[in-house]
């Protein structure tokens, strides 16, 4: 970079001021899902500030659900009017892309958010305080666990209704994340959905020390990984002189390189691009929970309140895989031969490690955490496949997987003993005798995780592996099938435990939920079976949606 070093060649920034300033053009219609969700989140904060405590729960619930439904209607409207296919566009001054993958994933995230609200709203499980029903969130999160403040707040029957606006802010960031079309928006969207999640993790009513610990771990590691993502973005900016994905792709493809002397200089150094690309991908793999960036997953999944775990496990994965796909296929397409071998390695290690470590787990939430790591590996196999088949198989898998996860965590909220949720596996022995319906629902989810035919998990896995094999990654598929077989062992083991062992005398009770959790579990089961038995419509939808705008 010696040419850059001499003062004369450094371009002056002041000349830019001479250009007339143009007002930004914002396509409000195409951005309406995000605007609705974030607007309703702000409204939720205002409700929290001005409404009396006893009406907050009802008001927040109505406003949040209506907001998510209307945002989903907006996504549907955009998809029906062809914004997913013929009218794909880059909007918001190049910051966001509205195309097939964006709309498919935004629709999935909004539905996941809505079903999560159902699980959040459950107030039948915790014992009633003197004055009011309470949910699974802390009465007063700022109060010291076991202290006087907590006792008073519990006695007064307070609940943290702020969880609904926090959920909406997280959903808003997740809607932006797969749509992000430059590195600046990618970073901002990452933070917008991560910060509310850190807080939500800390809000459990029972086992508050565990919950706080999980929040600290998630926060420190999450901030650490986003710092890596940011530094990677800065290095890529140094390489290409722009944050826009299309601009980066052009510089990598050697189209723009000769336009300025400076760009010829910086773009000549592949070190900037390779290190920067690796750091950005690392930040995304952290959010996805891929090995070797998976260490936070089991602790955070175990410690966070179970409704939050379900939401986080489902929606974060959808959003982060969307962002990863767009980054790899739009911005770093020209680097394909550099990132493919790395992704191969990460996918293989993730599948094997997730499946093998899950066998040793004795806590059902940790078990599902390691299972989610293994699923991240299966999804990475689809990411490696070619654009088109690969992208649409990942889209379908994400849609199928997120509802299975939501349903499974909703079931976990119902199996309880005196200390709250009974998550130790030994306590689940004989659950099938005591509560056959619930155990059957959980078995459906476990079979879908394992990828047994007639469930959505089978179709998803089949689509991903078929795409990977077509893309020339046959060894990866072999490893994937072996990892699936290992994983099937511990899913079946849980089913055997539930149905073929004697219930213990001091075992947990299955709480009778209100219509909220019941409908969340029912939606999970229905989606799992419908996507498993009649997948064709949804596979077509995903394959139409599999092309990125550039």
């Amino acid at each position: 970079m010696s040419a850059v070093a001499t003062a004369g060649t450094v371009p002056s920034l002041w000349t830019l001021a001479a250009e007339p300033l143009e007002a930004p053009k914002i396509e409000y219609g195409q951005l309406s899902p995000v605007i609705i969700v974030l607007g309703v989140a702000v409204l939720g904060i205002l409700l929290e500030a001005f409404l009396p405590r006893r009406v907050r729960y009802g008001a927040q619930l109505v406003v949040t659900a209506l907001g998510l439904v209307s945002a989903f209607a907006a996504v549907l409207g955009l998809a029906v009017t062809g914004h997913a296919t013929t009218k794909r566009a880059v909007v918001g001054m190049g910051a966001l892309a509205v195309d097939g993958p964006t709309l498919f994933l935004q629709g999935t995230i909004l539905l996941v958010g809505l079903v999560s609200v159902f699980v959040f709203a459950e107030r039948r499980l915790e014992p009633k305080s003197q004055t009011a029903h309470v949910d699974s969130f802390a009465a007063q999160p700022a109060a010291v666990p076991g202290g006087e403040g907590e006792r008073e707040a519990n006695a007064a029957g307070w609940t943290t209704t702020e969880v609904y606006p926090l959920l909406l802010f997280a959903v808003g960031g997740m809607l932006l994340f797969p749509a992000a079309n430059d590195l600046l928006t990618l970073f901002i969207a990452l933070e917008v959905f991560s910060l509310p999640l850190y807080l939500l993790c800390a809000l459990a009513r029972r086992r508050r020390l565990l919950s706080q610990e999980s929040a600290v771990k998630y926060f420190l590691l999450g901030a650490f990984s986003s710092a890596f993502l940011l530094f990677g973005a800065a290095l890529i900016y140094g390489y290409a002189g722009t944050f826009a994905y299309s601009g980066i792709a052009r510089v990598i493809g050697n189209a723009d390189r000769q336009t300025t002397a400076v760009l010829a200089e910086t773009a000549g150094s592949d070190a900037l691009l390779l290190i920067g690309g690796a750091l950005v991908v690392m930040g995304l793999l952290f959010k996805v929970g891929a090995v070797p960036f998976h260490m936070w997953t089991p602790d955070v999944y175990q410690g966070a309140p179970t409704p939050v775990t379900g939401f986080m496990a489902a929606a974060t994965k959808v959003a982060a895989f969307g962002a990863l796909l767009r980054l790899l296929y739009v911005a770093l397409e020209g680097l394909r031969w550099d990132w493919r071998p790395v992704m191969w390695g990460v996918a293989i290690v993730t599948m094997i490690a997730g499946a093998v470590i899950a066998i040793t787990q004795t806590d059902v939430k940790r078990l599902l955490a390691y299972s989610s790591i293994a699923h991240a590996g299966f999804l990475l196999a689809g990411v490696i496949a070619t654009e088109g088949r690969g992208v649409s198989s990942v889209l379908f898998y994400l849609g199928a997987y997120s509802f299975v996860t939501l349903g499974a965590f909703a079931v976990i909220t119902l199996v309880r003993d005196a200390g709250g949720e009974a998550t130790h596996l030994s306590k689940w022995a004989g659950l099938g005798r005591r509560s056959p319906l619930l155990a059957t629902a959980f078995s459906v989810f476990l079979l879908a995780f394992a990828g047994i035919p007639a469930t959505s998990g089978f179709i998803g896995k089949f689509a991903v592996f078929a795409a990977a094999a077509e893309g020339g990654a046959t060894p990866l598929v072999v490893v994937g099938v072996i990892a699936s077989a290992i994983a099937a062992f511990f899913y079946i083991r849980v089913m055997v435990l539930m149905f073929f062992s004697e219930p213990k005398a001091d075992g947990p009770t299955v709480a009778v939920p209100s219509v909220w959790t019941t409908s969340a579990i029912a939606i999970g089961v229905v989606v799992t079976l419908v996507l498993g038995v009649f997948p064709q419509y949804f596979l077509d939808l995903a394959s139409q949606a599999g092309v990125f705008v550039r």
Binding site: M1, V4, A5, V10, P11, S12, L13, L16, P141, A142, V144, P145, L183, L184, F187, I188, E191, L195, Y198, L199, A202, R208, L209, L210, Q212, E213, S214, A215, V216, K217, F219, L220, A223, F224, A227, F228, L230, F231, A233, A234, L235, Y237, G238, G241, T242, F243, V262, L263, T266, P298, D299, Q302, G303
Partner: protein, 99 residues
């Protein structure tokens, strides 16, 4: 002086921050090291903005400052909450879930 030297300085600061996160045990100090990493990224952005002669990097630096401020709000709330219930801000003590 060549603006490239600022990139080298930023890389050094980033490495110090990353090493600090891995080595230090107090959650507040770990958090300060993360802030150092973010500011190293800011310095990189501004140096490259100067090199390329466009303002994108400087605009991004403003966004990063806002994000860092928001992160402080959330992070300190979580760390203070942990300190109040355990009387320790050591990340080694937060090990209830270790197998």
């Amino acid at each position: 002086m060549s603006p490239v030297n600022y990139v080298y300085l930023a890389a050094l600061l980033f490495t110090i921050g990353a090493a600090g996160v891995l080595i230090r045990r107090n959650a507040i100090v770990v958090f300060m090291c993360i802030e150092l990493m973010l500011n190293a990224a800011n310095l990189t952005l501004i140096a490259f903005s100067r090199i390329h002669g466009n303002l994108d990097g400087q605009i991004m630096a403003f966004f990063v400052m806002v994000v860092a401020a928001a992160e402080v709000v959330v992070g300190l709330a979580i760390i203070v909450m942990m300190y109040r219930s355990r009387h320790s801000a050591s990340v080694d003590d937060a090990s209830l879930m270790k197998l």
